[in-house]
Amino acid sequence: MSDLNQKMAAKYQNNFLKEIEEQAEMGEWVKMCMQCGLCSGSCPTNFQAGWDHPPQELFMMIRAGKRDEVLKSNSMWMCTSCYNCYVRCPRKVPVTHVMHGIAEYAYRIGQSPKNQPTQHLSKTFWDNCTKTGRVNEVKLTQSLYFKDGIGSGIKKAMEMQSVALGLVKAKRLNLMEAVGLSHKCKDIKGIHAMLAKANELEAKRQADKAKA
């Protein structure tokens, strides 16, 4: 992973804006930002002091070539996908997607923060839903609680016990899913073959972009 990072840093030298435009999904939109700050003022996590750098600041940092600061930042990972910034941007920048794109790129080249909880959730969710084609909610919750080890997992599970019990009582949490008795697609084989091909083609697209 860090090889890829070095390769990219060498390829783009000091032109981080070009790197984001070419490598990050929706990165070509960054230059459209006119620094009005409406995205930052619209972000729900901003009110809870979630961001180190609000979106418009990240956009300017990209232009200023602050590669490490942007890629290692926690900020993009705070996006809740609420699309407030997206619908309000006067320049029609799809800010939500750009945030996702920068985060994904940082993760792909091994520069994103380690143990970032939403990054962990992203991986856990995707692995969970693609395993059988449908989400196993119990296993998803388990792997999220136990990400930092058994001790902290039990503590979190205990804290959330009343929430879980309420859901079990309301028949909205089926504990049998813990042993794999969950909803599944019939053609799991077909889904896995399709995703293997999609991953192969995605890797090819990315390799082509890195080469050019």
Binding site: M78, S81, Y83, S162, R172, G190, R205
Partner: protein, 298 residues
Amino acid sequence: MARKEYAFYPGCSSQKGASASNYLTSVESMCKTLDIKMTEIPDWNCCGASVSYAESGELPRIAMNARNFALAESNLPGQDIVATCAACWLGSRESKERLEHNSGLMADTQLALKEAGLQIKVIPEIKHMVEVLIEDFGYDELKKPVKKPLNGMKFAGYVGCQTNRPFGIVGESFENPMYLDKLIETVGGEAVPYDQKATCCGGALAFSEPEKAQAQIKDIIEAAYDGGAEMIVTPCPLCQANVEVYQGSINKKYGTKFDIPVLYYSQLMTLAYGGSAKEAALDGNVVRARKLEEFAGK
């Protein structure tokens, strides 16, 4: 023959025993009254939701959605896809939009689909259940079957994010969408004014950043109480769960005394159409809606 037929995409949370199973039950009851035939897309799969963006990459995520399109198109030709979940609807619509505007992405997606023995010819229209109600039926039609109006009950219509942005419901504003209030009034309830109608509940970050998400949820519930609401109503499974199930944790942390039921529009409609508590799946609410349980028993 039913009045309307659709290819139904319930999504992972709206399955038996899953976190929005009460949504599924009440939608089925509501559709029965309105004579809507919903045929599940055979072997549909997860949309990937928004939060998988970092792990999935663009093409695999779109391939998952494309598989649903291909299955719907080949098994239920000519029918629009209807999602009840905001994230399913958004994931599908975003995928449709990107596929229709990017021939390279479409070609790669077709190659991936071929591995599962599928292909896309035409991507069906994708609607949220709310769009079906408002655009294909309309408030007047929805009012006709009302047998028991929810007179005197005060609801905070909580629209949230993804049923509102970025696509939204035609003719509605992103800042102050009125459709949920109108639905509440259609079944005889009172929609209270409050200022957090389209605020984010934290979405998937309720899992990964619980403190930040719960702070947002607290603001939403507080505003609903301040507006005089007795209950909250929403069209989104994640909004419903987040705003309902963390009330205990929020009370512990902030010393609040939240105890407000959070319902789906389809539960209200089922009750107003004369359905039982069971048909409206009121037993699926963690914070029990006692007032509605009594109402249903009368």
